[in-house]
Symmetry: C2
Subunit: 638 residues, 2 copies
């Protein structure tokens, strides 16, 4: 049953958790990143750069600026800001001056390497930048109704469409960094221009086709050569000299429909899968849905290659995937952008299938991996999100490769997108947070009252223009081991509610003022990883509701692996000044007393009892730099 | 009480452990490395290289070749081999052709960069190569009585002496990679030329002096500038651009007498300390012994920065030391050469102090870290010696930086050096192995009969030319928790034996035919690391006698961290075909049964009972590549 998401513009948060984060995103993160875009020369890159000037525009700068603009556009839709809008209009005017007559637009290639356009799709992020500019243009159009940016990007999309495709005379290529696929779908949705959808479909279907002339790659049935090989040869490069050593790095090692393992660069992978899901949602798949492939890929990543925080891609060397069950904690890459991309993909899979397992992962990645990507004051950012730190890791103001900070901006500015959907038979509540949502197609407003994510009690008051029968679908999260639903204070009638794929379906003739209460058990859980994961054996992660917890040095002293917790530990809860719920329990700590300057001995270290404090992982590194650890050593009960 | 080591030439092994290793070293490793020296161009480098030829001699190639020659010389002393001797003579002739009239000798700088002599002592290994050539020359002279190589190196030493020193007109420098200090002491011992000893002393005393103009370094009391700064400036380089970012890397961050922490590149450090101990042994210290400094450095490394295998230097980034208690297992560098250097240093400290703690570490490094450096067939080598492997690590045939393989050759060919010493009051037995030793100064032969290292029972039969009173000093290893000594089957008389610093001193009027038996308890021990080591908390290392054990995939399946052993585990022993003793015990293994494709869950994994097999760490990776682990998860008894 395909779903239609309720856009963020229809969702008004009134909780402390999201309301505050959205405010900080708008008031602190947006201006902080704008300052960085300016300081690093990214804005100047649109104002004209000439040979000999210092600081030439880098190949992916346009994408950083575009993501910030997209986030700013979402913000404007919820919170008018004339100054910000003028800033954006000015940037759009500057951008327009860079567009060449044929429609091409890229601050690096028009100014720095004008002769190298389309000569290295594998490495140079050209179409990736185009995609992010398209997303920003659509967001700005939808937010302000102004067409200027959209028109610029339609001209560019028209030019790209004239350059790429299977037709004779066109380049049969696609981008090394996926993004344009999902962006073209957005542009199609905004413009109804079918060529954009067709082009997105071409980029997806063409990917990884053609025979690769080097490396240990499966033989393709295609007669023609792989595009990246041809392109490298045309540049005079040896295709086999590709630094990543395999086209797995960019998911072009075989045609996408033949891919059944998530491999390579994590952000690229999930952006591709998001685009594939988009095509299925629009039926743009030649009658051969991508869903079976996407389901295989989803099962693979979530069953073998995902951190308990929802982070993906453990390795810095390829910013991506390694081998099954390889999930080191201290060296985890788990890039913020990859978590965001996983949310995009999960959201699309959820609309495609109405299966709660996608919402479960979306919630896990959002509340943990992704929220850890930004500091409480909105001014510092994580590119990588390790699950343990010896005290070296700390958020930074910006990065030379600055994909993550503006990606956080656009996600948080539109986070309302992920909470509600509609279907032919009713309304879907995917996540819980105190908020009011307007669902026009059902003449419905839901007033959700909840202390989520700190409290599992949720009340949904339905305000209806007129009473009507439909199904209310309430997600029961996978982490919730017991739940109770009541309608207007009474039990739900037998047969009126049904659990399907993680959602409670309640069919009813709803009246204005009906109140559904849901109680989700939010007891602390000690999570274990599959014993095939070598790095977490004998360890547990503390989880409460959607939040994974960690211990930090500031609360628990250094050398956190000296701690040993019981699997029957009882936790007490306190609420910190910033509203976050902290967990307290008694643990053991290995003591160095009596060891003096001895390094090895046969007698076991003594343990002494100690009190420990755990805080939400998303909130770590907000009280000074220090050690942190998610996976704690636990006494086996065996 | 200073000791004098009995040289390897006086020790004849008749055990299976060392006899076999020495044979393989001679029959397999020596020719294997010779072939590599040839194939890689290292031999051709001495036969004349001209501008435009491929494969120019590298700056440290001379040292690789020299170490192989040194090992070959030791081998010749025990096992005549005319062909090998002719090979060496031919190499020495070639080497002679490279020596310039002034005495300078370096295959790289004479042929590739003739104008760059002495312009970059910091990085270019010039004096380091000289040192290794000197050691080889001394070994060849002592082994064969032939002076040719020695004469070449004396001429070079004379030239170096003319170039370096505090006197006006000389360069006030020293080598970035220590080695020449201990080599000059050897050359002095072989030639009695006091200038060589004085030069060694200069190189040591000068090191780290002078004000460093960059970085966070302590202010030196010296008025003049640090040599490496001046040298870099003379090249037109910015001293602060030194890649290692600190002269700690090469132990030149402050004068050696002010150093109290082992820092930087591990091999360099222990070669320096060996040279310092040599100077103390010869009283060449201006009346101010290096010993207090060396004792501080020794305590620091052995109490905070040494693996249970005796490996040192955890980090690949500097091939050296990091911070106190940082001892990661899977990524341990623990270079074979650093272990060998630690043996050199320990051996000198032992002679200087007669304190068994130096022999304890010598034995630990030798039997574990260093022996793991070569495969059972003598043909494959470890540069790094991790304490855990996910199956990626495997010994290699050679390395572009090939310091370790020939270092193993020379160590094993002269391993008899480390077993016995004499002092004014008697004879010292440092290590145990079935062997006959001739101790001329006491008119004594000791026939040691033992199954060591597999069996702790040792019988020492004393063959004396004439009965005499002296002290027999028997080391009681630190790992031994109970020992029993008998003389001619009877108890040792009260007062006749005394334990001092790890040695049992038995003063007696010894008769020809006296037999001392020593029983060292060799029960399996589960070793714990100091709880300040983050990487080994909750883990134990299996040790039996001097040998650290490990588990390997071939015996115990993959994912070795699924294993959980009891601290009260009882071990049984079997002897493998190759003579090594294997340990067997019952353990628990976390089971993936029932997890299917689940990655996280709140229920603890089930454990099932399993039998495990441990093999000596020095013997790992000899039966195919696979996982390995020294530190095993252990159930706390707390």
């Amino acid at each position: 049953m395909p779903l239609t998401p309720i856009p963020y513009t229809h969702v008004a948060f009134s909780d402390s958790f999201w309301t505050e984060r959205i405010r900080i995103n708008r008031e602190s993160t947006l201006p902080t990143i704008y300052k960085q875009l300016k300081q690093t020369g990214r804005l100047a890159a649109w104002e004209g750069w000439k040979k000999g000037d210092p600081n030439p525009p880098h190949v992916f700068w346009d994408s950083d600026t575009a993501k910030w603009m997209e986030g700013a556009a979402y913000s404007l839709a919820q919170h008018k800001d004339k100054k910000l809008e003028r800033t954006l209009d000015g940037m759009i005017e500057q951008l327009a001056t860079l567009q060449t007559k044929d429609g091409y637009l890229n601050s690096h290639f028009t100014q720095v390497e004008p002769k190298k356009r389309w000569t290295n799709l594998r490495d140079q992020h050209e179409l990736y930048c185009a995609g992010h500019l398209m997303e920003a243009a659509v967001a700005y159009f939808e937010s302000t109704g102004k067409r200027s940016f959209l028109d610029i990007m339609c001209r560019y999309a028209d030019y790209i469409d004239a350059c790429f495709g299977p037709e004779k005379g066109k380049l049969r290529g696609y981008c090394g960094h996926e993004e344009i696929e999902l962006a073209l779908v957005r542009l199609y949705r905004a413009t109804n221009e079918p060529r954009y959808l067709k082009l997105a479909q071409y980029f997806v279907e063409e990917r990884g086709r053609g025979k690769i002339s080097w490396g240990a790659h499966p033989k393709s049935k295609q007669r023609y050569a792989n595009y990246f090989d041809l392109e490298a040869q045309a540049r005079g490069d040896d295709p086999a000299a590709f630094w990543a050593k395999s086209y797995e790095y960019l998911q072009a090692h075989k045609p996408v429909r033949e891919q059944d393992q998530v491999v390579g660069h994590a952000v690229r992978a999930v952006y591709l899968y998001s685009g594939m899901a988009d095509l299925d949602l629009l039926g743009a798949n030649n009658g051969d849905p991508f869903l079976p492939t996407l389901e295989k890929l989803w099962s693979h990543v979530t069953a073998r290659r995902m951190y308990v925080t929802g982070g993906i891609g453990p390795s810095a060397s390829n910013e991506g995937f390694t081998t099954d069950y390889d999930l080191p904690d201290e060296t985890a890459y788990a890039e913020t952008c990859a978590g965001i991309g996983l949310i995009y993909w999960a959201h699309r899979m959820l609309q495609l299938t109405s299966d709660g397992r996608y919402a479960d992962v979306l919630e896990r990645a959002l509340y943990n991996n992704v929220l850890a990507g930004v500091s409480a004051d909105g001014k510092l950012f994580n590119y990588v999100n390790p699950l343990a730190s010896r005290g070296v890791h700390h958020r930074k103001t910006f990065f030379s490769c600055a994909c993550c900070p503006p990606n956080i901006v656009r996600l948080l500015a539109s986070v309302g997108n992920y909470f509600y959907s509609t279907s032919n038979d009713g309304v879907w509540v995917h996540m819980y947070a105190q908020s009011d949502v307007h669902i026009d197609s059902y003449g419905l407003q839901i007033q959700q009252r909840s202390g989520y994510p700190w409290d599992g009690a949720v009340a949904l008051a339905l305000r209806l223009e007129q009473a009507s029968e439909f199904v209310l679908h309430l997600r029961i999260p996978e982490w919730c081991e017991s739940s109770l639903v009541r309608i207007n204070g009474g039990d739900v009638e037998l047969g009126a509610a049904q659990m399907i794929d993680g959602y409670l379906h309640i069919r009813r003739h709803w009246q204005d003022g009906d109140v559904v209460t849901l109680n989700l058990d939010m007891s602390v859980q000690l999570m274990n990883a599959n014993p095939a994961v070598p790095q977490t054996l004998g360890r547990v992660a503390v989880q409460r509701g959607p939040l994974v917890y960690c211990v930090e040095q500031i609360d628990n002293d250094a050398n956190l692996d000296q701690l040993l917790i019981s699997r029957e530990a009882e936790f007490t809860e306190t609420t910190a000044d910033n509203g976050t719920l902290r967990l307290h329990t008694s643990a053991l700590r290995a003591s160095g007393a009596g060891w003096d300057e001895q390094l090895y001995r046969s007698a076991e270290p003594k343990y002494k009892r100690t009190e420990i404090v755990a805080v939400p992982y998303c909130d770590w590194d907000n009280r000074g730099q220090g050690e942190m650890r998610v996976w704690l050593r636990a006494l086996p009960m065996t």
